[in-house]
Structure formats: structure tokens, C-alpha cells
């Protein structure tokens, strides 16, 4: 994993250079004892409309609310993607994967003083898989395989599964599945949207809409000795320029979503060694999505030709310098355990390194399909980073095979509405995952009857079958093979195809210690282990 390599590089560098005096922040961090107190002010680049992560899909809600809540398990960011306990002190998985037992910490209290019991966990997960009227549970489908939830005693929860789901443990570690109080939910199922009462390391102080949100140290957090900070403040900087200015000017000590390479260069140039940059590949990608219900994109030759015309390897060189797009990869994040290795990836249509040959074949395919001088509109989202560069890039790439493309960008609402209604020709779509697990990564490509987020409107029973089979497969090698088969079929049919995966660059002031980098900006935001070295 890239972050690990970076850390390793730093440490070996320090050792190689020998004598002390080299102030490498990472090395220091591992040696120092955390200091207590202080307020961490950081930038949040979007404002959440409500406080309920269950019904949200945006990091804006997590950066806002994660410090106030806890989850059953969470991802161990030092050893991603391993999981560790949060509310769960220990857990046991049955060998047949059909039952998960969690033993909760005994002395957890909500911020209003009431103690946490297994009933609260049960109420939370019932809400997640079966939301009552008026409540949205965005990831409802991921809990379909749960059969019953039992609470034999106040500190034990047992999940009995209906079907075998090899990815279930990761879902218990999902940052979105924060635990609410059963009492609060009984009073008002939609309460968490506007009221915060959690078990997290910080207590909610205030939210001035449009301006900032703040929290203070929860004196009775169940993890002894944590959190270190006295409080924190998240300032909403809705313009990238404002956010960078604030980081550079020292008004905020960091931004935890991710910035572009050019923005990183500017900060490094301006701030020198006062700023720490951490980089990792990102669990986000942009994809090229063809509307298979519209001519001529119902013809697989046309789709494949357009995919082959794109020089991913070459383009990523330039795009990675000016945008957050970087890695060429298939359906799973490149660099993660289940990703297709490069040697196999280049055999798939659209991923060849011989772009001249690919483009000639593409032109031939287009001529065969009867549309050598194709003209269409590229439907894109109106965000400067990285949708705009992606659109400009694609228009240029398709120009090289004689295809004329009109680039139209829309604000989020009409952008989504047009795609959902199937009114687009070709669109740039996006995939925002919080973990590498294939159960999430592949879900977008299932038949549109199963997956509403499949904007190409394709229906392919073969892909559906491969997905279902792989979900129930416990053997890791067999699973990888199934994922490869899924990917191969999808790229040959070319309904939609990842363009490039993103690259995450997070800037923090060097006084900020204890924050851990990961491939997803949705993780690691509870701030419990962060401290200020001032």
C-alpha cells in the first residue's frame, strides 16, 4: 500500500542519513507522547444537509458527524483493510459465516448520559435494513442478507444471516453505520437528521449553517485516555480557492478530503516544511458510460471502439499532473489485493499500451458498424475537479478517431436526472466507494433492474450471475477469478468502463499528529487519536 511505502521510505531515509537533526514528522510522531488539549480547526469542502449518515452518501456528513458517533467495528487504518473493534470489544464469526457475535464495551454512555446496550445496536441495524416511513437508508441493500438480530444480554449482539455473504464483516465496519440510541429512535425515527446524540469521542457544540460546526471533548468516552483534543471546529469552505488560501494562511490546519497535484504544489511552494502532504490511491473513479438504449450505442462494436480510442496510459501522465485522476485500473482499485494485475489488464479492450493499434482497430470497428463519422454529446457534471479535465480529455481523444463530440456540463441535479431518465448518449459517471470490497465495487455494473445506479441501462444476466456467485464464494483465489471473469465480460461488452482512478492528496499542518491516511476520504474522521504538537 502506498502510504506504507511512503512511511517506510521516510524511515529508511532517516536511518541511512544517520545522525539526528533530521526532523521527519513521521518518525517524530512514532516517538512522541501525545499532548492534550487544543482545538483542531480544519476545512470541510461541502456542507451536509442533515446529520444522519444512514441516509447520506456524501463525505460532508461524515466529516461533520463522525466525531460524535461510534460504529460496531471500524477499519484499522494502519493495516487497511483489516478491521478492528470500535463499540465491539471482541467479536466472533462462525466458521460457516452464517452468524456474527459481538461483545460490546461494558461502560459506553451516550452523550445524554444513558448507557449503551445491545438494544441500541439492534434498533440501529433494524433502521438500516428496514427504514420506517419517512426515513432513508442509503445502503439498505447491503443488509438484505441479515436474517435476525438477537440480543441475549445487554452487551451481546448476534447477527444470524439468511444467506452467506463473504463481505459482511466489512459492512459492520462501514463508517456510515453509526449507532443511535434506541430510545431516540423510538421517539422519532427521523430524529438523527436534526439531533445529535451519540457515543463518540466528541460532544456536539454548535452548527452555524454556512459557516462552521464544532465539537468538544467527551470527558467520559469509553476508550480510556481518548480523545486528546480539547475540541475541534470544521469550517465550510465551499470554494477550492478559499480552502487553499485558508490552509496556506494557517486559519485551518488541514483538509481531509483531498486536493489536486497543482494545489499541493502551490502549498508546498508557499509553506515549505510547515505543511505535510500524504498521498494514496483513492477509492473513487470516473467512468465512461454509454446509454445502451440509444442508437448507435446499442451496438457493441461502437462502444468498444470508443473505449479503445482512449489512451489511458498516455493520458494519465498529463492528467495526473493537473487533476486528481491518476491510476489506470479495472473495476477494483489498482494496488489493492483484489485488483487485476497490469499484465492481465493490458489484454482487455481499452487498456492496451499500443494506442496506435488500438485506435486503428477502433476506426475499423466504427466503419464496420456503419458510423465512421460519429457525432454525439458527452454529458458531464459541472465540477472543476476532475470532471472538467476528464471531459476535455475525452473530447480530445475521440477527435483522434474522427469522432466529433460536444461537451456539455450540468449542475448535479439535472446531471443526475438526465442520466436516470436515460436521456443521455454518453456520459461521464462516477463511482464513490468507501472500501475496496468487490461487493460494492461491482454492484454498479449489474443489470439496471437490480442496480438503479447503473446508468448505462444495460441488462446482462451473465454479469448478474457472476456477481451473485462471487458473493457467496469464500475461497479467496476462486473469488479473484470470478471478479476477473466479471471484468472481462464487462469490458468486452463495454456498457461502461472506468476511465481512471483518482489519487488522494491530503494536506495537514505539521502540528497535526495522529491522523491516519487511507484510500477513502470517508474513513478515519472520528478524530479520537488526533493531537496537536504545539
Amino acid at each position: 500500500m502506498e502510504t506504507r511505502r511512503t512511511v517506510l521510505r521516510h524511515v529508511t531515509g532517516a536511518l541511512a542519513l544517520g545522525m539526528g537533526g533530521l526532523n521527519l514528522a513521521t518518525v517524530q510522531a512514532q516517538a512522541q507522547t501525545p499532548k492534550r488539549g487544543g482545538t483542531l480547526t480544519f476545512a470541510i469542502s461541502a456542507e451536509t444537509p442533515h446529520y444522519d449518515p444512514h441516509g447520506s452518501d456524501t463525505y460532508a456528513t461524515l466529516h461533520f458527524a463522525a466525531p460524535f458517533y461510534s460504529t460496531l467495528l471500524r477499519f484499522n487504518l494502519s493495516k487497511f483493510p483489516e478491521v478492528e473493534g470500535d463499540l465491539a470489544q471482541s467479536w466472533a464469526v462462525a466458521p460457516d459465516l452464517m452468524s456474527y457475535t459481538f461483545k460490546l464495551h461494558p461502560s459506553v454512555k451516550f452523550h445524554d448520559g444513558t448507557p449503551l446496550t445491545s438494544a441500541d445496536v439492534k434498533a440501529t441495524y433494524e433502521r438500516l435494513r428496514n427504514p420506517p416511513q419517512g426515513v432513508v437508508s442509503t445502503r439498505k441493500a447491503t443488509f438484505d442478507d441479515i436474517g435476525t438480530i438477537e440480543t441475549p444480554d445487554p452487551t451481546t449482539v448476534v447477527f444470524k444471516m439468511k444467506n452467506l455473504n463473504a463481505s459482511m464483516l466489512e459492512h459492520f465496519a462501514s463508517p456510515w453505520n453509526v449507532v443511535y440510541s434506541a430510545k431516540d429512535l423510538a421517539e422519532n425515527p427521523a430524529g438523527p437528521r436534526t439531533k445529535i446524540n451519540g457515543t463518540g469521542p466528541f460532544i456536539f457544540v454548535e452548527h452555524v449553517r454556512g459557516s462552521h460546526v464544532s465539537g468538544r471533548n467527551n470527558g467520559s468516552y469509553f476508550k480510556q485516555g481518548l480523545p486528546y483534543l480539547g475540541g475541534w471546529k470544521g469550517v465550510f469552505t465551499l470554494q477550492a480557492a478559499a480552502m487553499l488560501n485558508a490552509v496556506q494562511g494557517g486559519q485551518v490546519l488541514g483538509e481531509f478530503r483531498g486536493i489536486s497535484p497543482a494545489e499541493r504544489d502551490r502549498l508546498v511552494q508557499a509553506m515549505g516544511d510547515k505543511i505535510r502532504i500524504e498521498e494514496s490511491s483513492w477509492t473513487l473513479n470516473l467512468l465512461v458510460c454509454f446509454n445502451v438504449e440509444k442508437k448507435p450505442f446499442d451496438d457493441v462494436r461502437v462502444r468498444r471502439a470508443l473505449c479503445m480510442a482512449i489512451d489511458r496510459w498516455g493520458g494519465s501522465q498529463g492528467l495526473s499532473r493537473i487533476s486528481t485522476l491518476r491510476s489506470v485500473g479495472g473495476l477494483i482499485r489498482p494496488g489493492s489485493p483484489f485488483a487485476t494485475p497490469e499484465s492481465e489488464l493490458v489484454k482487455l479492450p481499452g487498456f492496451s499500451k499500443d494506442i496506435r493499434k488500438s485506435r486503428e482497430e477502433a476506426k475499423k470497428l466504427l466503419a464496420d458498424a456503419g458510423v465512421p463519422n460519429l457525432k454525439f454529446t458527452l454529458h458531464n457534471r459541472n465540477l472543476a475537479m476532475p470532471y472538467t479535465p476528464a471531459g476535455i480529455f475525452l473530447v480530445d481523444q475521440w477527435r483522434q478517431v474522427g469522432v466529433e463530440v460536444e461537451h456539455k456540463q450540468f449542475d448535479t441535479a439535472p446531471y443526475l436526472a438526465t442520466m436516470n431518465a436515460g436521456n443521455h448518449d454518453v456520459a461521464i459517471d462516477f463511482s464513490n466507494l468507501f472500501m475496496d470490497d468487490s461487493s460494492l465495487g461491482l454492484a454498479k455494473y449489474l443489470s439496471v433492474t437490480r442496480a438503479p445506479e447503473n446508468r448505462s441501462r444495460s441488462k446482462d444476466p451473465e454479469l448478474d450471475r457472476l456477481y451473485d456467485d462471487h458473493l457467496r464464494e469464500r475461497d479467496v483465489e476462486k473469488r479473484k477469478a470470478m471478479i476477473r471473469a466479471f471484468e472481462k465480460r464487462l469490458f468486452e461488452q463495454a456498457y461502461q468502463q472506468p476511465l481512471l482512478w483518482w489519487h488522494r492528496i491530503v494536506p495537514t499542518h505539521k502540528v497535526v499528529m495522529g491522523w491516519k491516511m487511507s484510500p477513502s476520504h470517508n474513513l478515519g474522521q472520528d478524530l479520537a487519536e488526533v493531537w496537536l504538537n504545539t
Binding site: D57, T138, A241, A413, A443
Partner: protein
């Protein structure tokens, strides 16, 4: 006078109604509403039923005319409804940010008026000399330079030159005047420059017109001191149209604020408006447009009444 006033007030009502109809139906022409943005904006995979359920909850599934009627009934009782994004009352969202925008607007006005009156007067008195040319170039510069670009230059300049930035969150002036002023003086300058330029031009041309009037010639022929001529006769009469301009331009400040608040990242009305447009938050957009229009109509009314008071000819039009 009373009849004139009542007439003008009554005329305001169809204007506001027209604004309401225009805004309401225009917003709903293009497909795509806020529910999509809220639930799927960052890649969420909710089912179509969930989307429909949320639309129903927000009242977006009712026929358009019914939605309009509901909204109008609310407006009549001064209830502008709830923002579709945060589901808090529209009035609350607006009032939260009003103080900041109002303060910037007032500061810009003070800055503009304090500089424009002497500047415009001098340019008129020394017409066609280098003073006049210089002032004309400076003021035309003021209305030509895009306010947002000017703001960008100010921010970059502060950062590059002094490595200092204005405070990032708003504190009211009675809580911490230093933090408040150091934050708001820059956007006030950026917006005020243009405002100042327009006002100065107005004063100049208005004064020029008055100075060529007969009664000024008479006063000069009588041998009245030039300074008295200017202050007693000319300036007083020239100021009336200038006041109208100041009043009307104040409402146009809102337009300037929309872009300037983006540049300076201020949590004001302008920023709220741009955000609500990009989120398709219909109720908030409608509410804000109605308020802006009402404000404009009100200022217009005041200005017309002021005119009628000072110029009796208008009353009998």
C-alpha cells in the same frame, strides 16, 4: 399626494405577483430536482422508490398549480416555507446570513458616497481638464473591472505580499470589532469601487446639467460668491437624482454580492443564493427572489415618493 402614494403602492402588488409567477414556473421547466442531489449526489445507490418517497415528503409530486397555490398562500402570511435542502424555514436561513451581507453593503455604500461626492463635484467643476479626464478614467475603470477579478487580486495580493488572510468565520461587530472589520473591509472595497464609480459619474453629469441652468447663470450674474452658488443652488439640486441613483444602486449591490461572496468565501445572502441555485433548492430560490424583488419595489417606491415630494410636477402626471 396621498392618491399618488396609494396608487404607487397598489401598483406594487401585480409586480410582485408577476415576479412570483415568473420565478416559480421558470425553475420547474428543466427536469431534475433536489431529491436526486440529496440522495444520489455523491454516488449513493438508493432505489427509485426511495426517491419517490422523498419527493412526496417534500411535496414535489403534487401538480404544479397546487404547489404554486400552497406557496402563494404561505407568502401572503409571510411564511416562505422550508428550504428543501436543510428543511429549516427559509426565513431562518436568510436571517442567519443577512447581517453579514447587510454590513458589507452598508460599508460599501459609506465608502462609495464619501468618495463619490467630492470626486464627482470636482470633475464637474473642472470639466474637460486633466482632473476631469483622470476622474473619468478612474470611474470607468471602476465599472469596467469585474468585481470578482478585483477580489481575486486582493486575496492573492494579501497572501503573496503579507502572508495574511482575513478571518474565515464571521463575528458580529459588537462581539469583536477587529475581527469583523478585517474580514469585511476587503469585500466592501471590491464591491464599493464599482458603486463609487457609478455614483461619482451620476453626480458629475447631474451637476453639469444643473450648472448650465438659467438660475445658476442668474446667480453668477448677480455676483454671488461662486462657492455659495455651488453649495446653495447647484449641489442641492444635483443631489436629488444622485440620491435616487444611490438608492437604486443599493439594490444592485445584491447582484455584486453574489459574485464577491464567492471570491471571499463569505457566508452571506449572495453565497446562499448561488448554493441554492446549484442545488435546485426551489423554495429557497423563490423565497430569496421574492425578498429581493420586494426590497427593490420598496426602494423604488420610496424614491418615487421622494421625487414627488421635491418635484411637484410629478405629482400631477
Amino acid at each position: 399626494m396621498l392618491r399618488y402614494t396609494i396608487n404607487r403602492v397598489l401598483l406594487a402588488i401585480p409586480t410582485l405577483l408577476g415576479v412570483a409567477i415568473l420565478v416559480f414556473f421558470m425553475l420547474r421547466i428543466v427536469p431534475g430536482d433536489i431529491v436526486e442531489v440529496k440522495l444520489r449526489g455523491d454516488g449513493g445507490a438508493v432505489s427509485q422508490e426511495t426517491i419517490e418517497m422523498e419527493r412526496q415528503r417534500l411535496g414535489l409530486d403534487k401538480p404544479l398549480v397546487i404547489q404554486f397555490k400552497d406557496w402563494m398562500v404561505g407568502v401572503a402570511t409571510l411564511d416562505l416555507g422550508n428550504s428543501m435542502w436543510t428543511e429549516r424555514p427559509v426565513m431562518e436561513e436568510i436571517l442567519l446570513r443577512l447581517e453579514l451581507s447587510l454590513q458589507v453593503a452598508i460599508m460599501a455604500t459609506i465608502f462609495a458616497v464619501l468618495i463619490a461626492i467630492p470626486l464627482g463635484t470636482m470633475a464637474a467643476l473642472f470639466r474637460d481638464t486633466w482632473i476631469d479626464y483622470l476622474m473619468r478614467i478612474a470611474t470607468i475603470g471602476g465599472i469596467s473591472i469585474p468585481a470578482f477579478w478585483f477580489g481575486m487580486l486582493i486575496m492573492s495580493g494579501l497572501l503573496a505580499g503579507f502572508n495574511w488572510l482575513p478571518p474565515i468565520t464571521f463575528t458580529p461587530i459588537y462581539v469583536d470589532p477587529i475581527a469583523n472589520l478585517t474580514q469585511l473591509i476587503w469585500p466592501a472595497l471590491a464591491v464599493g469601487y464599482r458603486y463609487c464609480a457609478v455614483t461619482a459619474r451620476m453626480i458629475r453629469s447631474s451637476l453639469l446639467e444643473v450648472l448650465s441652468e438659467d438660475y445658476i447663470r442668474t446667480a453668477r450674474a448677480k455676483g454671488v460668491y461662486e462657492r455659495l452658488v455651488i453649495s446653495r443652488h447647484a449641489l442641492r439640486n444635483a443631489l436629488l437624482p444622485a440620491i435616487t441613483v444611490i438608492g437604486l444602486e443599493f439594490t444592485f449591490l445584491i447582484g455584486g454580492l453574489v459574485v464577491t461572496e464567492q471570491v471571499f468565501n463569505l457566508n452571506g445572502i449572495g453565497m446562499l443564493f448561488v448554493q441554492s441555485v446549484s442545488r435546485n433548492d426551489f423554495t429557497l430560490i423563490q423565497g430569496m427572489v421574492m425578498l429581493i424583488a420586494a426590497f427593490y419595489v420598496f426602494v423604488n417606491l420610496l424614491v418615487d415618493l421622494l421625487y414627488a415630494v421635491f418635484d411637484p410636477r410629478i405629482r400631477y402626471d
